[in-house]
């Protein structure tokens, strides 16, 4: 055997490094976005395609009668519209395909005149018959979100080609009806091309909106292209590509290295803060209104069947600490009612009832009355699910544990599970206290009280909260004129705060992280991310 030859080893190492360096250079050279332009810079022009990265996915189909997840619904809202819509920025409910409407004196019958210049993607004109057919299709197919109009409309009929007569199930309040008719399930679809069954991926339906579906590779991307037959303003960017990422880390890397123009839903608060400070990327913030987070108790389980225990916990929670520590004081705001700030009838009922700062003495008093002491503390499990909501969920759970244990009378054990397991544990009632989030079906306070507090509608939550007075008030508020409705909603929130079956915690902000040249990002009260307003200027 020869002696070691260090020179040969070094030569081999140098050769290997050289090969890697040359390969890397070739790849960078081929893919570098900063290749200098050959011609002198011309006037800026609009980028033909914008790429939006997201960790959301389309969880079922893009058929408006079935879609019920954030992204699927948002895409449909860029491909279609209903009789009413939310105006960007002001988020006021305005006419879309409707021109005008009248309401009968008893509030039971609406006559809605519709536009005569609107056409479907294939050029077929919109008619009242098409609107009625679409609604009947949704109600007949009876998929997950069908109740949004199914519980509202008794019957609809066409009066001529341009008027829809709607018979309601009850004399509901005007804004309530309009907000439901603005939901995606009520979007007209082309009767000529829409089947009487759910359209599966990679398909969708012919609707009336700024974009239409270009291509869809399930699990990878969705491409939207301009709809040339749309009656309204043309989209600023002709083509939108929505690219799916598996987690916040991948999405962050993609926006950092310029692979996507906009990252929308959902980067972690820490990542957003980091990007704000260290990169040239822009962070656009919108009002955090719709998505709310809360803690639920199973009222059939000890010790949470005791109202004093729930109230003690409400006294101990420090929402501001959560918002300041985990959300850096910027990406969320404390929530003192399930009805979010900005909604009709919102009232800080929990703040009034329990204060904005933890009241340890009040909590200890209640816990002592309930039979707990230092020697015999309340032992509880607090459950959370780490992936579904924010990547910061474990930190939040740890903070809540710390806050509850500050009383000296509670010992908290933190437990977590992936969503499928978590949801099963809820359904099988194996857990008694857990964190959950809510994204509204439609933008009305009713959607923040009925599914939680009405005993006929909150079975899905496994909270077992039943209060006949609250049930009655919830049923009444949707029929009342606005002023009276506000008072009823406030009343509901006060009672719910005292009963404390659910403790509101915070409402999340909306954030888009975008390349510096992207414009037109509107994040408003409607929670719709409007692709048709987006554009990016590039040097032509």
């Amino acid at each position: 055997m020869k002696n070691p030859n260090t020179k040969v080893l070094i030569a081999a190492a140098v050769a290997a490094i050289a090969v890697i360096a040359i390969a890397a250079y070739m790849i960078f050279w081929q893919t570098s976005p900063e290749t200098p332009p050959a011609a002198p810079p011309a006037a800026p022009k609009i980028k033909e395609a914008l790429i939006i990265g997201t960790t959301d996915s389309v969880q079922s189909t893009l058929d408006p009668c079935e879609a019920y997840d954030y992204l699927g619904v948002n895409i449909i809202q860029n491909m279609g519209e209903g009789l009413f819509k939310y105006e960007p920025e002001t988020a006021e409910l305005v006419n879309a395909l409707a021109v005008s409407y009248t309401i009968s004196p008893d509030g039971m019958v609406w006559e809605i005149k519709i536009r005569t210049d609107a056409k479907f993607q294939d050029g077929t004109p919109l008619t009242a018959q098409a609107v009625v057919w679409s609604w009947n299709r949704t109600i007949t197919l009876n998929q997950d979100p069908a109740f949004l109009i199914g519980d509202l409309i008794e019957k609809a009929e066409a009066v001529g080609d341009d008027t829809v007569r709607v018979y309601l199930k009850a004399p509901f309040e005007e804004t309530y009806v309009k907000s439901l008719l603005a939901t995606w399930v009520a979007f007209p679809v082309n009767p000529k091309t829409s089947p009487m069954e759910v359209v599966e991926p990679p398909g969708t339906l012919d609707m009336i909106g700024p974009y239409k579906l270009g291509s869809w590779k399930p699990g990878e991307y969705i491409e939207l292209v301009e709809n040339p037959n749309y009656y309204g303003e043309k989209p600023k960017t002709p083509r939108i590509i929505i690219r799916f990422y598996k987690d916040a880390q991948s999405l962050r890397l993609a926006v950092e290295n310029g692979e996507v123009d906009i990252a929308f839903r959902t980067l972690s608060p820490a990542d957003i803060k980091d990007l704000m400070e260290k990169s040239t990327l822009q962070v656009v913030a919108g009002p955090g209104i719709a998505p709310i987070r809360y803690m639920v108790f199973n009222l059939n389980k000890e010790p949470f069947n005791d109202k004093r225990v729930r109230q003690a916990i409400a006294y101990l929670i420090d929402r501001e600490q959560i918002v300041n520590t985990v959300f850096m004081g910027k990406f969320a705001q404390p929530l003192y009612s399930l009805v979010p700030i900005g909604f009709l009838g919102h009232k800080d009922s929990f703040k009034e009832r329990y204060g904005s700062k933890p009241d340890i003495e009040a909590a200890r008093k209640l816990l002592t009355e309930a039979g707990f002491s230092e020697a015999n503390p309340l032992r509880m499990e607090l459950w959370y699910t780490p992936v579904r909501y924010t990547p910061a969920e474990p930190d939040i759970a740890a903070l809540l544990k710390q806050q509850l244990e500050a009383s000296g009378l509670i010992k908290v054990e933190l437990k977590s599970a992936d969503w499928a397991t978590y949801r099963t544990l809820m359904r099988e009632e194996k857990i008694a206290c857990w964190l959950l989030g809510w994204y509204p079906d439609f933008l009305d306070p009713d959607n923040y009280v009925r599914p939680f507090y009405h005993s006929s509608a909150n079975a899905w939550l496994h909270v077992h909260y039943e209060n006949p007075e609250v049930d009655r008030l919830i049923d009444e508020q949707v029929l009342q004129p606005t002023e009276q409705r506000i008072r009823t909603l406030e009343n509901i929130q006060d009672i719910a705060a005292d009963d404390a079956p659910i403790i509101p915690l915070w409402q999340e902000g909306q954030f888009a992280v975008a390349q510096p040249n992207v414009k037109g990002i509107v994040l408003d009260y409607s929670q719709i991310f409007r692709y048709f307003l987006l554009y990016a200027e590039v040097q032509g």
Partner: protein, 340 residues
């Protein structure tokens, strides 16, 4: 038993192996809490709608009926079913994702063999230097390091400063473009070359660099050890001594006489590594958002989509069965002493 009989025997065993595996996966998925429809819960969807969705998927039937139905569909109708929520045929996803995993596996094997063989030969050649110790430590570290951690290190340490792509197979614009090109095989590199789109090919190679390095480094340790041991063993045999005595240069002795000795063990190891590659691919694909079968099965488990998990595992099992059969046959071609 002749070679032909051996192949037939192995092929006959494959359905049996699939049956055992599918039964295992069927049971494991059902033991996990939740079912595909659980993903829809957490909204106020009426209970009767959820019950109907479960019935549509046959989840309301007793487990043994579900099991028999599934086996009937797979073995008799050759139908892997549809995904639970989107109702897309599982075959569609597998056809779309399999080429990505095959590409990654091939690239990773090239990286692993490149690193492994080079380090193994150098270790044997410079037996008494520091290099064999270094190679030994390297092998132990890369074999024991969690592959997703290695991926993250490369993402943060290499990709972020250099601007190399870290996620996906192509930039989004090229993904859409590729799907609109006329010639389609599903293999991105092949498709981009057949359509003469070198820009897409370069984009693909750039995207593949880090995942292939991650997975390649992960399995290179085994190849390093195997090459080193086999070449080292040959280097003290009489025939190599005789070669040296004839004045043949040491490098030639190592590569010509020593390395040939390592071919059979390397081939065996490459065959055995297919399972490790596919396992490692799940984590590598998850780390790099590489849309292959690994990412598909990961998402399938999270969504409790039984059809996706069962379908993907079936394909995995078939790949492993076929590759090990090919390796067996290749033995007899490389080494005439091997007989069945």
């Amino acid at each position: 038993m002749g070679l032909k009989e051996h192949i037939l025997y192995r092929l006959a065993l494959t359905p049996l192996m699939l049956l055992v595996l599918l039964t295992l996966v069927f049971v494991l998925m059902r033991v996990l809490p939740g079912d595909p429809i659980t993903m829809l819960e957490g909204k106020n969807i009426p209970e009767e709608v959820l019950a109907r969705r479960r019935a549509e998927l046959g989840l309301d039937k007793p487990l043994h009926v579900q099991y028999l139905n599934y086996l009937y569909n797979v073995f008799v109708k050759l139908d892997l079913g549809v995904t639970a929520l989107e109702r897309v045929p599982v075959g569609y996803f597998i056809a779309a994702r399999l080429p990505a995993t095959v590409d990654l596996a091939i690239a990773a094997t090239i990286v692993a063999l490149g690193i492994g063989v080079l380090m193994g030969i150098l270790s044997a050649r410079y037996e008494e230097s520091w290099f064999p110790q270094f190679a030994r430590v390297y092998s132990s570290i890369v074999y024991s390091i969690p592959v997703f951690y290695l991926g993250l290190l490369l993402q943060v340490g290499v990709a972020r400063p250099s601007g190399l792509p870290t996620t996906g197979r192509l930039s989004p614009v090229n993904m859409v473009l590729l799907d609109s090109l006329p010639v389609k095989t599903g293999f991105v590199l092949l498709d981009s070359l057949l359509n003469w789109r070198l820009d897409i090919a370069a984009d693909y190679v750039a995207h593949m660099l880090l995942p292939a390095l991650t997975l390649g480094i992960y399995i290179s340790g085994v190849f390093t050890r195997v090459t080193y041991l086999s070449v080292g063993e040959a280097m003290v045999q009489d025939y190599t001594r005789a070669a040296r005595a004839r004045g043949i240069r040491e490098w030639k002795v190592v590569t010509r006489y020593g390395f040939r000795n390592a071919l059979i063990p390397l081939l065996t190891m490459a065959g055995l590594q297919v399972a490790a590659l596919l396992g490692g691919a799940v984590l590598t694909e998850t780390t790099f958002n590489w849309e292959g079968l690994g990412l598909l099965v990961y998402e399938g488990v999270l969504k409790r989509d039984y059809a996706i998990v069962q379908g993907t595992v079936t394909i995995y099992a078939l790949i492993v069965a076929i590759v090990s059969l090919v390796v067996d046959v290749a033995y007899s071609l490389v080494d005439p002493r091997v007989r069945y």
